[in-house]
């Protein structure tokens, strides 16, 4: 069961990335969210959702996810850089 979940998690994140790269943002979001449902603290999925929202200029939502990432991993430099960038623009 555990292994199955790990596989699913990886699959969902991969699918999310695939749709993101094809600019299918709704589908991408759906898969990243499925991954987060399995593992709410998954940094890769949370960070990907932040990037997705930032790329479509929804900064408030992007900020929420980057903050979650930094909350879980305070040294996550990429997330910190995005938080800085968004705060500067607003």
């Amino acid at each position: 069961m555990m292994d199955n979940n790990v596989n699913k998690l990886t699959e969902y994140i991969e699918a999310g990335k695939f749709y993101f790269l094809n600019q299918k943002y709704n589908e991408a979001l759906l898969y990243f969210m499925k991954a987060i449902e399995i593992e709410p603290d998954n940094i890769e999925a949370l960070y990907s959702v932040g990037i997705l929202y930032e790329s479509i200029n929804e900064f408030d939502k992007a900020m929420d996810y980057f903050k979650k990432v930094v909350g879980l991993s305070p040294d996550h430099n990429d997330a910190l850089a995005h938080i800085n960038k968004i705060s500067k623009n607003e």
Binding site: F20, L21, S48, I51, D78
Partner: protein, 229 residues
């Protein structure tokens, strides 16, 4: 090369001086306060601490050949007036003076300012408009009736081409550029994106979710666009 003089190194003056210097321009920065002058000295062509209301000081600095002077001595309007007059007498080609109110602006024009700017008022206006319309990213007023705006694409535009939307026909506005982030993966496999700009997009260009549209047109018509869903 054009020579720029900035008199008064408050936040505004300092920012103008630094940005001109970054653009590779010759900047002479002047302020009464030696501390402010020291702060900027490494970045500009010349920095001097002196009383700019004294004509002799400005003459000694060789400002006669200056092309553009920016007078930003802050709230001290009497100093602004004196400095503007002196720079005008010295023959500086273009004088831009900062004012806090239209009354100050009028006086500054009378004593030789070629252009008056109201940074506080302009910023306030911009911020108010931005806050009033969350879709609005930026606004440049070209004249009293025409502007360029940057807005987040309304949801109803997504998936349609500019031709289908026929904004020019309906609203007499032109989409002059589209800012679009292109998704990519970084070296470590994490999601990322690259900022991209499409200049003068063609009629077949399809609008995508998250696009920022840069639109030129009549301000009244643009206001309608800003509020489309």
């Amino acid at each position: 090369m054009k020579k720029y003089v900035i008199v008064g190194l408050g936040r505004f003056g300092q920012s103008v001086a630094m940005n001109l210097a970054k653009l590779g321009k010759d900047v002479i920065a002047i302020d009464k306060s030696p501390i402010k002058v020291e702060e900027i000295a490494d970045f500009v062509f010349q920095a001097a601490s002196c009383d700019a209301t004294d004509e002799k000081n400005l003459r000694d600095l060789g400002l006669r050949n200056a092309d553009v002077a920016i007078v930003s001595v802050g709230e001290d309007i009497s100093s602004s007036i004196l400095i503007t007059m002196t720079l005008n007498d010295l023959g500086v080609k273009k004088i831009i003076a900062k004012a806090l109110s239209p009354m100050q602006g009028k006086v500054l024009v009378k004593v030789g300012a070629d252009r008056v700017i109201y940074p506080e008022r302009d910023m306030g206006e911009r911020l108010a408009k931005k806050l009033a319309s969350p879709q609005l990213f930026d606004l440049i007023e070209l004249t009293s009736s025409h502007s360029i705006i940057e807005i987040l694409t309304p949801e109803s535009f997504v998936g349609k081409t500019l031709n289908t939307l026929s904004l020019r026909k309906k609203y007499k506005i032109n989409v002059i550029a589209i800012k679009r982030n292109i998704p990519e993966l970084s070296e470590n496999g994490a999601t990322s994106f690259e900022e991209n700009i499409l200049l003068s997009p063609g009629p077949d260009e399809e609008i995508m979710k998250g696009d920022i549209l840069v639109i030129l047109g009549e301000s009244d018509k643009l206001r309608i666009i800003e509020h489309l869903k």
